[in-house]
Symmetry: C2
Subunit: 251 residues, 2 copies
Amino acid sequence: MPSGHTVVAFDTELATLHRKIAEMGGLAEEQLMRAMEALVSRDENLAGSIIARDTEIDRGEAEVEALAVRVLALRQPMAKDLRQVIAALKISTNLERVGDFASNCAKRVMALSQVPPAGPMKSLNRMGITTAGMVHDVVKAYVDEDYDLAMAVRDRDAEVDAVYTSLFRELLTYMMESPQQITACTHLMFIAKNLERIGDHATNVAETVCFLVRGRLPGEERLKEDLSSFTVVNPGDRPGDRPGDRNDRVG
Amino acid sequence: MPSGHTVVAFDTELATLHRKIAEMGGLAEEQLMRAMEALVSRDENLAGSIIARDTEIDRGEAEVEALAVRVLALRQPMAKDLRQVIAALKISTNLERVGDFASNCAKRVMALSQVPPAGPMKSLNRMGITTAGMVHDVVKAYVDEDYDLAMAVRDRDAEVDAVYTSLFRELLTYMMESPQQITACTHLMFIAKNLERIGDHATNVAETVCFLVRGRLPGEERLKEDLSSFTVVNPGDRPGDRPGDRNDRVG
């Protein structure tokens, strides 16, 4: 039977885990929003500061992991307490990846600033804002243990996947129009992929919040709407062509 | 003080975790090798079977996680035993991602089989074989708790990153040569990116083996050689141009 002192120490440790995750989430969201700002304004200095700051999120993950392992060893938590620690481990890994993707977007801003502007920047920026909103909401869902908010974030991922598939096709078409746009559009395509992956990580966090609150993962298999891997665009296709108009889906 | 019965049960559970991870690793490696085979032979049927089999690796991860959480709750392991459980959790997540990347390569084989063959297939195939070898070796390092082998895998990742950066530049050049190659080369670029990420995940597993065996992560920061995010290629550059010849690195 744990003593009162142990219980207080454990509560403090859990609160620290909570706080660190919330900080990581806030920073990841900020890094992503700033990466979109750097992209739109072609701001290399801003991009450089985003890249430099990524280590802060990496450190956050390392701290959460060290504390979580310590808590498991010293407190041997059970049931909901154990889920709290497991959830912190999993969520910090996902947020660290969100930070990596934001930083990678900033790296590509460096390359993009050397070539003429090209591509559907507005759609890309909007996609960035959507995924930053997902990161914001899912961290709030974690802090408040808000199951409904977590599931709402998870539902939004299908929209992000659909936008990504459409952007992928649009960027292929731009590239075919002019070789001058190929380098730019390729980096924009990887930025779009980064954002799509951030949506996936927000979804992972949402599912972990479900595990935390209800003790199990959400049952229903999530519909995967990213069809870009199957996409074919041929020279002569126009950016307005919709997926499904041609033989662009397989299997 | 745990009873003899509890100790035996715990040993059995750890052995099960070990076996499940080894199985996941073997399957991930096989899926990757088969994806390369499908790529080279433009075999849509093989690609389809790889995609279908990905759920098997997903199930492996879910089983490892369920068992790990159960072991933490029931056995409350400490020290090395605790690290065994944490390591199993982390490694299964990484192997599940390797499976995802192999499956994504197979999806892109579906798209590639609809367009004329293009791009540096040999280099790509070689990169696939290298990363499959890393997955093989790092799972062996985990099973044998072989620190040196794990560190050797980690060291090989720099080579994979360098090959990826070079392939990225080469593919951009191919795309500029002919719009007919753009769809194919874009999918090949994402396949190369998948392989580069598989190298990263093998490296993550190597670092987890270090944590398992020595109780801490490897100290020295790993050198990141993937410079593709900074790469610019202009129309007129030839595939043979080396990184560094032009203004292709930033920062």
